[in-house]
């Protein structure tokens, strides 16, 4: 039931009292503005962090060795132990759910461990299997990654991270086939990589790593058949937590570790970590909504309060209107509509200002390097804007209820009562 004339009447009342209307509207403007900006910031943070995990195999786990905590089969407790090459084949044959498995050797980052001509630097040294990229994907910028033959023939080759390339080579120099000395041994460079995932680093960031075939690393570092870490992924329809337990018990059995020893095998479960992160963001979002709605409610209370004062101030006007023949309903509708119009106008300005500010921030951030910024695309989804609009309309009505009931109590007789 749209009545143009009524809205004109309301619009005149609002615009002829600019200061009053502005003050009334500001609370709601501010509430919705804060809600949008905070939610946008939350989403920006979330986007930034989640983009740093993008591409990482969720269904994956990493295993490390630790000292035993139980005496078992004649071994004392507190014994150190290591994974061995044959563990890989045992796991592969006994755990059918395993999709990929990659051993990992970590060489640490000693001071100036890498030299090439007149350049030197300190980088992480890792020994990997070619399957590793199935778990933690790497962008190949130049050349290729480690292959089966490299592992088999123990070729002295390496793949370097982007940062290593930038530090050890001149701009636009071709690194492929060049030699680089790592801890006293020369390796031929076969590729340059950049990590896809920036927020998960195992054994150091791959941008700053020199990656060797793990068999080569075992040989050149005199590590025998020892492996520091085993990385696995399960088939996508199998929860990694199930596989994790199976792998652990096989490893314990193989290495004579008590089945109830909870310390000997350390592991890192990506699924659990992602779940935790998503829980953190659910928490952050709930907090944002609580604070935002709180701000909005205080805005609505402000509107209601000012409308109350307004009604009191307008007792005479309302009385005159009543004397001239305004029905109670028309006064009720008038005050409600004023409240509704003010809150929704102010709210939509607040919504627009909030989204505008977020867009400005987004533009100012520009195309930042991946994983570098705190924020990435701080925006609110359309559904949230719609929710906010609905909340606004509802709060406009709520804000109007008490003042319009108060206005109803104004009798025409009040208009002619001389003060």
């Amino acid at each position: 039931m749209f009545d143009l004339d009524r809205w004109q009447e309301i619009w005149i009342t609002i615009t002829r009292n600019k200061m009053r209307s502005f003050l009334t509207a500001f609370g709601v403007f501010w509430g919705i503005f804060m809600l949008v900006v905070m939610a946008g910031a939350g989403y920006g943070m979330q986007n930034s962090i989640i983009s740093g995990f993008d591409g990482f195999a969720v269904n994956s786990a990493f295993f490390f060795t630790n000292r035993t905590s139980e005496a078992y089969k004649g071994f004392r407790k507190g014994r150190s132990w290591d994974f061995q090459n044959e563990d890989l084949s045992i796991l592969k044959s006994q755990v059918k759910e395993l999709q990929y498995i990659s051993p990992m050797l970590l060489g640490g980052r000693r001071d100036n461990n890498t030299v090439r001509q007149d350049k030197y630097g300190s980088f992480h040294i890792k020994g990997l299997h070619y399957n590793y990229t199935k778990i933690d994907p790497l962008d190949i910028l130049k050349g290729r990654f480690i292959n089966e033959i490299d592992l088999e023939e123990r070729r002295k080759v390496c793949v370097i991270g982007k940062k290593v390339y930038e530090d050890m080579f001149d701009v636009d120099e071709n690194p492929i086939g060049q030699l680089i000395k790592v801890n006293g041994i020369y390796y031929s460079i076969i590729g340059v990589v950049e990590p896809v995932v920036t927020n998960v680093n195992i054994g150091g960031n791959n941008r700053e790593a020199i990656i060797l075939p793990y068999t080569v690393m075992q040989q050149t570092y005199n590590r025998g058949d020892v492996i520091d870490c085993i990385a696995i992924t399960a088939y996508s329809n199998i929860p990694i937590s199930d596989v994790e337990e199976k792998v652990k018990s096989i490893l314990k059995q193989k290495h004579s570790i008590a089945p109830n020893d909870n310390q000997a095998v350390d592991d890192f479960n990506a699924e659990k970590m992602f779940k935790m992160i998503s829980n953190v963001f659910t928490g952050v979002n709930v907090l944002i909504w609580i604070v935002g709605l709180g701000t909005l409610i205080s805005g609505v209370v402000g509107v209601s309060n000012i409308m109350m004062v307004t009604v009191r101030e307008r007792t005479k006007e309302i009385g005159i209107r009543r004397a001239l023949g305004a029905k109670p309903l028309s006064i009720l509708v008038q005050i409600m509509n004023e409240s509704l119009l003010l809150t929704s106008l102010a709210g939509f300005f607040g919504l627009a200002a909030g989204v505008g500010l977020l867009s400005l921030v987004d533009m100012a951030l520009g195309e930042q390097e991946k994983g570098q910024g705190f924020f990435l695309h701080p925006q609110i989804p359309f559904s949230m804007a719609v929710t906010a609009a609905v909340i606004l309309l509802a709060s406009g009505i709520i804000a109007g209820i008490i003042p319009s009931l108060r206005a109803l109590q104004v009798k025409a007789i009040d208009a002619i009562r001389e003060e």
Partner: protein
């Protein structure tokens, strides 16, 4: 036109106060009447009842043969709008509306379109010589002009009766005379006019003076 039969009104604020003690009054169509009395005599209460602004306890009030009794707020709003035009001592114009909008307001509550009611309102402003002031706000006008706007507003809905409560109370003597002349002219066009006042200068201009004292009607004098 107006018939009051044994109207009684008691206010119950703390101790009951019997304000109107059986008012019987008949006012014919086209009369020009003033109601006079000291403060506390009950003349304001009588005006409120005549204007359907207040209820009464006992008796009967017929306005244009309609019994005005126990009406809902909505019904009384409709009767006020259609049958009664008010002129107040302090003008009671809406301060953020210009003269034209103020005059048009009663028509707004009759759901008459903006275009049409502004046309009618302009006609009445013109009658009262305020055509050039239509777009002015009340605070830009003199007291006399404001009261003329108020009279235009009282007339615009073509009511049965005009109730004026001390219409010259806030005006200087020269303007008072002008306003009374206007009310006289309006009455001359056939409008029933009831003025409540305590000013003998004002009541002298009306044709019939009803004296009210302690809630009962005293003597009625004719000025012819």
């Amino acid at each position: 036109m107006i018939t009051l039969k044994n109207i009684n009104k008691t206010y119950n604020n703390g101790s009951p106060l019997h304000v109107l003690k059986g008012i019987d009054l008949i006012i014919e169509k086209g009369e020009f009447v003033s109601i006079m009395g000291a403060s506390g005599s009950g003349k304001s209460t009588l005006l409120n009842i005549l204007g359907i602004l207040d209820n009464y306890d006992d008796g009967e009030y017929y306005l244009n043969k309609v019994l005005i009794k126990n009406l809902t707020e909505t019904q009384s709003a409709v009767y006020r709008n259609k049958m009664i035009g008010f002129v107040f001592q302090s003008f009671n114009l809406i301060s953020f509306k210009n003269a034209l909008e103020n005059v048009a307001l009663p028509l707004y509550y009759q759901n008459i379109s903006r275009k049409k009611r502004n046309l009618i309102a302009m006609e009445y402003l013109d009658k009262l010589g305020l055509k050039d002031w239509a777009q002015h706000m009340p605070n830009e006008m003199s007291g006399g002009q404001k009261q003329r706007v108020a009279i235009a507003r009282a007339l615009v809905a073509k009511p049965q009766v005009i109730l004026a409560d001390e219409p010259t109370g806030a005006l200087d003597s020269k303007t008072s005379v002008e306003v009374m002349e206007i009310l006289k002219e309006v009455n001359a066009d056939g409008m029933t006019m009831i003025i409540v006042t305590h000013d003998p200068e004002v009541s002298r201009k009306t044709r019939k003076i009803i004296h009210i004292k302690d809630g009962v009607i005293g003597n009625i004098t004719n000025n012819d």
